[in-house]
């Protein structure tokens, strides 16, 4: 793991870690930095997909990191350990090698997670993944859809229709660019259906890319239907 050690050590320096800084404070900055990943091309951080406070209004694909250190399992029970859950994020979404648990930076991240709620044992959280997407949810209120876009999509994809402010050039502009890309995979489906497939499966189920999925718990069918209506995508 020398390459990762070196990368994280470099990240620490370039994040400006000061002398005698608490590990948790440094871990907080790592959680907010794409440089946690060993991949130089990565542009997302833990906090891109996870809240770190209870008043975060965003609609995020990942559960809050508050209390995460004391959850008994992750990914709906399919990842039994916190380190494995972090490594899954690094592998699937941040294009990174796994953490070396003994590395100081990795330990600092752990101390930050403890700081976010390491005193109370937590319940495992459900994760309902729709294995098959056959149709889009019913249409909803486009005004609510605009809000869903702002809270759930904009931080990565930027403004609807233009992509202004998107986190990376690879994040397709919503909805047209995303639909066009998805239709290449699913040419026989309706645009609303392929958009739903992308939201519900993210990069998984051979859809591709680096996007996480939105489970039934993190994005309701009602909000997804509203989002589709905001985009003008009819089921």
């Amino acid at each position: 793991m020398p390459a990762l050690l070196a990368a994280l050590a470099m990240a620490s320096a370039c994040l400006g870690a000061g002398p005698e800084e608490t590990a948790a404070a440094y871990g907080e900055r790592l959680a907010a930095s794409p440089r946690l990943s060993s991949a130089a091309s990565n542009e997302v951080a833990c906090t891109t997909c996870h809240a770190v406070s209870s008043d975060d209004p965003r609609i995020l694909p990942g559960y809050s990191l508050v209390g995460a250190a004391k959850r008994p399992s992750f990914w709906g029970g399919y990842e039994p350990e916190l380190l494995g859950a972090v490594d899954a994020c690094l592998l699937f979404f941040m294009k990174s090698q796994p953490l070396d648990p003994d590395d100081p930076a990795a330990r600092a991240l752990y101390e930050y997670l403890l700081l976010l709620g390491g005193d109370v044992e937590q319940e495992a959280l459900p994760l309902t993944i729709q294995t098959t997407v056959k149709r889009a949810p019913p249409p909803g209120d486009p005004l609510r859809g605009a809000e869903v876009h702002r809270l759930g999509c904009e931080s990565c994809h930027g403004a609807a229709g233009t992509g202004a402010g998107r986190i990376m050039i690879d994040a397709p502009i919503l909805p047209d660019q995303s639909v066009d890309e998805a239709l290449e995979l699913f040419p026989d489906d309706l645009p609303a259906t392929v958009f739903t497939e992308k939201v519900r499966h993210g990069q998984f189920f051979s859809v591709g890319g680096t996007m996480p999925l939105f489970s039934a718990e993190t994005l309701s069918d009602e909000d997804l239907g509203a989002l589709l209506s905001f985009y003008g995508l009819q089921p």
């Binding site: 320096a13 370039c14 005698e20 800084e21 709906g76 600092a108 189920f205 051979s206 859809v207």
Partner: protein, 407 residues
């Protein structure tokens, strides 16, 4: 506990230090209770878990997730254990009994490559994995435990090539032979210690069940879509194909669909043919490289995996539709007993396995694959009476014995 770590300096210069509050980061506890004796491990291919069963009490002591991808169903199919009981090898097939999007399908129709997963059998933690090909079928350790063999029950490639053939108006006999050659599935042989690939080679369409005969230095693999078995020299990997019956079929219309293989102490190779038209058992004499016609056994149900007693006096094999356990006399090729498994709650019997001491039979029952869990049944070999039942996860598919690990 406080500790200070100095981190590397950045290009701009300067040193950084961190003050730690906790000595132990990222706690990693065993996913399994401490080992106190031999265990059975079963793959639940419908819910991506492994069940661990205490051999003596016949109680499930743990069920743990298995797979590389926590978001997708991956279908852990068959598994094998190292002789010392410390390591499990699981084939990830990407074939699951749901109509899922993406690379998943029913048995043999996963379109994504599968994996060989390696787990620490004492903790349940995954240690590493290597990629193999579509729809890994059987996974077996060569006698001695040094090499892992994986077949590939890859029906997707067969379908793709059949489509190419139908779209090729200029296909002549030579071209047709070339197409059929491309349907041959691969066997991957992996070093169990280093996980380096020892060898990969093609055998025949839809390879599945694997069995070894160390006395002959041979491996046998069923060829589900060409009605053959592949006989492989384990030293040279030379492949010889032998039909399991006269008038064999070929893709896409096999007539016998050989699926499972077992080697008798006599050296005979017993094949389970799962065709609904010709279900039954066939016997191959590996010396002659030919089927033993006098030993054909027709069965009412579809026979799957079976096991021979150590003295070779009986072959136990299960069938589906109906779910029966058959006790076969291999010398006379007659069925001496047929036990109805349905009253016991065994739905879709998949395999009959003998305990190492030969006293017990374990039957893996698949359940209905989607809702009704499967089970593991235990029978006394001498009386063929049921002595144990364990409810498992969705679609149990294979069982292996983990011997007690001694320090």
């Amino acid at each position: 506990m406080l500790s200070v770590w100095a981190l590397g300096a950045c290009a701009e210069g300067g040193e950084a230090g961190l003050v730690f509050q906790h000595g132990q980061a990222w706690p990693r506890t065993s996913l399994l209770p401490p080992s106190s004796g031999p265990r059975l491990v079963v793959t639940n291919s419908g819910d991506d878990t492994l069940s661990f069963i205490d051999l003596d009490s016949f109680v499930e002591i743990a069920r743990i997730p298995v797979g590389r991808n926590p978001a997708e169903p991956e279908g852990p199919h068959h598994l094998a254990a190292s002789p010392d009981g410390r390591t499990l090898f699981v084939g990830i097939s990407n074939t699951v009994p749901v109509n899922a999007s993406g690379p998943h399908g029913s048995h043999g129709t996963g379109s994504a490559n599968g994996y060989l997963l390696v787990l620490d059998a004492l903790t349940g933690r995954q240690q590493s994995w290597i990629r193999v090909y579509r729809s890994p079928g059987d996974i077996r350790l060569e006698p001695g435990g040094q090499r892992i063999w994986q077949s590939h029950y890859d029906l997707v490639t067969i379908g793709e090539i059949l489509k190419e053939m139908s779209d090729d108006p200029a296909m002549d006999a030579a071209g047709e032979a070339a197409y059929f050659k491309r349907m041959d599935s691969k066997v991957v042989v992996t070093d169990a210690d280093t996980l380096e690939r020892v060898k990969e080679f093609t055998i025949c369409p839809a390879g599945h069940g694997i069995a070894f005969d160390p006395r002959r230095g041979a491996a046998y693999v069923s060829c589900g879509f060409s009605d053959e078995i592949a006989i492989i020299d384990t030293a040279t990997f030379e492949v010889r194909r032998v039909p399991v019956d006269e008038d064999p079929g070929m893709p896409p219309t096999p007539r016998f669909e050989p699926y499972a293989v077992a080697v008798a102490p006599s050296g005979e190779v017993w094949i389970s043919n799962t065709s609904r038209i010709h279900p039954g058992l066939r016997v191959i004499d590996p010396e002659l490289g030919a089927e033993v016609e006098a030993k054909r056994i027709s069965t009412e149900g579809l026979p799957l995996f079976g096991a021979f007693t150590e003295d070779g006096s009986r072959f136990f094999v299960v069938t589906q539709r109906p779910d029966w356990l058959l006790a076969v006399n291999p010398q006379t090729a007659t069925v001496e007993a047929a036990i109805d498994l349905e009253p016991r709650g065994c739905l879709n019997a998949h395999s009959a396995n003998l305990s190492p001491d030969g006293a017990s039979l374990w039957l893996v029952c698949e359940g209905d694959h989607l809702v009704r869990p499967g089970s593991l049944e235990r029978l006394d070999v001498a009386t063929l009476s049921f002595t144990g039942h364990v409810e498992l996860g969705l679609f149990p598919d294979d069982v292996v014995v983990l011997p007690e690990v001694r320090p």
